[in-house]
Each structure stands twice: as C-alpha cells, then as structure tokens.
Amino acid sequence: MASTPVATPNGSGGAELPTWGRTVRRLASGALAFHLVGILVGPLSLPPALLADYLRRVYSPYIEAAYLDNAYKFFAPDPGPSHLLRWTAVMPDGSRRQGLLPDRQQHWPRLFYHRHFMLSEFVAGQPDPNWEPDTPWERLPNSELQRLLARSFARHLLYKLGAQSVTLELIEHALPNPEQVQQGLRLDDPSLYRSRKLGTYRRRGE
C-alpha cells in the first residue's frame, strides 16, 4: 500500500506521528488481506458452499492451526431441543450407579456444567447422514461418529469408576410451546423426554 507515512494517533488527539514505513505497511497489508479472507472461510463453510470449498484448500492449514475455523452460528439456524446423556454402570459387586451429563448438582461452576452439556450435545449433533426422515428419533440408528464417541465415553467411565459395564442412553428434551406452558405444562414434564440407547460396553476381555 503506497501512501503517506504520516498519520494522527487514534484517539490521542495529539500531533501527527510517524507510522510504519512503506515496505512494512505493504507486507502487513498482504498478511492482513490473507488473514481477513481466512476468517470468513469458517462461517462460509456451514452449510457447505462452493466458494468456501475452494478457499478451504488454501486456508485449511492456517485456520485449523490457529483455531479460526469457526462458524459463529450461535443458536442458529433454530434453537432446538437439548440433549443429555444418561449412564448406568454395573460395578464389580453387582451394584448399579447412574449419572447424567450434564448434572447441575455435580457439575459446578456453570462453565464446568456447560463443558459436560456440550459433550452430550456433541454426540447428538453427529446424526447418521443416511437416516430416513420418517424414522422416529428413538429408533434412529447411531451414526459411526456417535458410536465412536459412545465408546470413548464408556471407556472413560469404565476406567474412572472401575465398573464392569456401562450402558449409555441419549436423551432428547423437547421444548414445549408457549401454549403448552400457558396450560400448565412444566419444562421438566416426562412427556417432553425421549431416549435411545447408544450401547452397552464392557471391560475389554470380559
């Protein structure tokens, strides 16, 4: 960028001050242009877009290494039901232990609760790409990624609890509409929950 090297300090209200030299500004401008296009790649990629696919070929190493590959779609396109994960562990003495992800009583402070909430949402957010639209949610087949995550979660629980086996269930908590709440339906009404089994996992070799 070729221009005068003189500028006024931003917000200082004082006299003109020298800024970077022309060569430095040109180099910085090139880096800036590259970076500014790069931060658009993540948002443009979800849902997939042709232009983003082309840009991604160039930018993937940069935006992935710098954790800039983010879509910034907060609560978009629509706020939906939330998802929880219920685990049931069978201990070596035959007793059972149960837990929930997330659990307000156990996971505190709120950020820690949110970390666990994101785990259950992450599992729910990896549906089978070939699912039939008419299939009831409870009977949806678990996708390859859901099975991968469930195995990992189960391995964590087996190791942490010293359990013999762990069964994982994904729970969907639907949102009631305003009319239902007006008529007295509580947000935790049992009719709003449905679940499906992710799998039962045992210690290796047993």
């Binding site: 960028m1 290494a65 954790y67 978009a76 396109p77 706020p79 709120r110 509409n177 305003p178 947000l187």
Partner: protein, 334 residues
C-alpha cells in the same frame, strides 16, 4: 474519465486502508482488553482443573484416539497429544495458569501474550466436543492481543518501569501495532456478529420471531425462569427480531461515531441477558470484552484514570483528521 475515476478510487482505498490499520493509537484500549481477556482466559482454564484428567487425560471423555478419528486425519497441533502422565499433565496445567495470570496482570506481557494464545489453542484442539463460543472468542482475543503492546497500559510491566525510573512515566507512546491489534478485534467482532445474524435467517424461528422462546423454554440452559413470556408473545417476537437485526447490522452501525454508543449499549442487555437467563455468564462476558474494543482510548483513560484523557475535537478517533492531513498533502503535491 474512467482512468481518473479509477485513480481516485485507488487513492481513496489506499488512504482509507492505511488510515484504518496503520494510524498509531494510544494503547489504553489494548491494555484494558488484555486485563479483561486475560482474566477470562485464566478463569476458563482454571475451571478445567476440576476435571483435568476427565477432559485431557488418556482415559478422558473424548480420548486422544477418538479425537484423532473425529478430526479424520487433519489432527490440529496440541501438546496434549503427547502427554499421558497425570503428573506431567498437572505440572503443565499449573504452568499454563501461571502464564495466564501473568498475562492478565500484564507481567512480561509480550511473552505471556504469545504463550497464552498458544495455550488457549492447544487446549481447544484437544477437547473437540466440549467447546463452545467462549473458547472461540478467547482464542481470537488472545491472538490479536499478542500482536500489539498489550502491556503498555494498565499492567505490572508499566508499574515496574515506573518503579525503576523512580518518577512518573510519560504517557504511553501511541503505537501502530496497538491500533492494528484493536482494529483486528473490531473487524473480527463484526464478522462474528454478521454471520451469527445471517445464519439465524437460515432458520424459521428467528424470522418468525419465536426463537427466543426456544432459549426461554430450554431447561438445561435456564438459570432464570422467564417462562412468563408465554403470555407475552409480542415481547418474544420483539426481542427475537431485535437480536437478529442488531447482529446483522452491527458491522455497519458500530462505525459512525454517533451510533457507536447506542450499538454498544444494546450489546450490554443482550449479552447480560444470555449470561443471567441462560447461565452462560462466561460467554456473555467475553462477547462484551470483544465489544469493549470499540471503546476509544481517551474514554478508557477517562474511565480508569491515569494519563491524559483528551477526546479529539469533534471526533472520537484521530482517523478522520489523518485523512484530511493526507488529502492536504496530496493536494500540495498537485
């Protein structure tokens, strides 16, 4: 005529570009952002301590092997891939917290800024599935803060320099790097809000004006019972649509001097509402920290004290006057 137009367009673009990115700026805003973002980084990573082995250990919720498979071969860097010893994990984590505390306080700022960014990215890459917007904004802020002299104001570094010199220091020297870092945060915030807004239009509920109910009626997010809004659908619609329109047009309306306070003022109830109503306090606050990049340095000094706090006459930043200076020079050149 076309050549004249193109030449004028080129000069207009180059002058504007240089003025926007390369005008030296008082590092007061950058220093404030370092303290706030550094504090948030420290808190965010301190909370990992409650489940360090659960999230980062070899038998974590998302194990290293599972994470590698999730990334489908494009595994991003993180030193956590190479750590399996719980002792080493805790030692490293403690060191990271110390670095982030130093960064928040502004001690060895230039070094701790770079280290804090590397740490934030390393943590994020290791735990796919446990992340959300907070981590994205944390990493973004850390990345840009390390580009400028973020310890030149409101820092222990500056306090030490004053102590060593034995007398009050002159005001921090305006810096091009300080301006560049703040500008990058501002532009990135515009990108975030724009895509947050435009992606909401891909759904039906934001357009229809019912989306906010989806947040109110979600028990897993709820920290404040706002279900009384079922009786005021007009309020749900108003707040839903105001959110979308504000996010969409933030990138335009935040730049004019007179509109900026209004645009930023809307951010406060919006993000505090998310913080209080949905229990996402950290996310709400980190978005407000990003918005604080639009607070001009003179106002930061006026609010926090320390050094001159003189607003430029008639403008909130010196950029327009720099533009006039440039035009005068070009005019003088004929």
């Amino acid at each position: 005529m076309l050549r004249g137009y193109l030449r004028e367009l080129w000069h207009w673009w180059v002058d504007g570009w240089n003025r926007f990115w390369f005008s030296p700026a008082d590092p007061a805003t950058l220093g404030l952002l370092r303290a706030l973002a550094g504090g948030m980084l420290l808190y965010t990573h301190a909370v990992w301590s409650l489940g360090l082995n659960d999230f980062f250990g070899p038998y974590s919720w998302v194990s290293p092997q599972a994470a590698h498979e999730l990334y489908r071969g494009d595994v991003p860097w993180s030193w956590f891939w190479h750590i399996s010893s719980p002792t080493l994990l805790w030692l490293l984590h403690t060191a990271v917290l110390v670095v982030m505390a130093m960064f928040a306080l502004g001690l060895f700022s230039r070094v701790t800024a770079v280290l804090s960014w590397l740490c934030a990215v390393a943590y994020a890459h290791r735990v796919p599935g446990a992340l959300f917007g907070l981590d994205q904004i944390n990493a973004m802020l850390a990345m840009y803060l390390m580009l400028g002299p973020c310890g030149a104001a409101w820092s222990v570094d500056r306090w030490i320099a004053r102590w060593r010199s034995g007398r009050p220091l002159p005001p921090a020297v305006p810096s091009t790097a300080a301006n560049l870092a703040v500008r990058l945060i501002q532009v990135h915030m515009c990108v975030i809000y724009f895509f947050a807004g435009i992606s909401k239009l891909q759904g039906q509920s934001w357009w229809a004006g019912t989306a906010l109910w989806g947040a109110v009626a979600n028990l897993e997010y709820q920290t404040l019972d706002l279900t009384w809004m079922c009786h005021t659908p007009w309020l749900v619609a108003l707040l839903t649509q105001a959110t979308v329109w504000w996010e969409l047009f933030f990138c335009v309306l935040v730049w004019p001097r007179l509109l900026r306070p209004l645009v930023l003022a809307f951010a406060v109830p919006l993000h505090l509402g998310i913080a209080v109503g949905m229990g996402m306090v950290t996310f709400g606050l980190v978005m407000l920290i990003g918005c604080a990049s639009f607070v001009p340095p003179w106002l930061v000094r006026r609010l926090l004290g320390g050094g001159p706090a003189v607003p430029p006459a008639g403008v909130e930043s010196g950029a327009p006057r720099a533009g006039r200076a440039m035009r005068r020079r070009r005019g003088a050149r004929g």
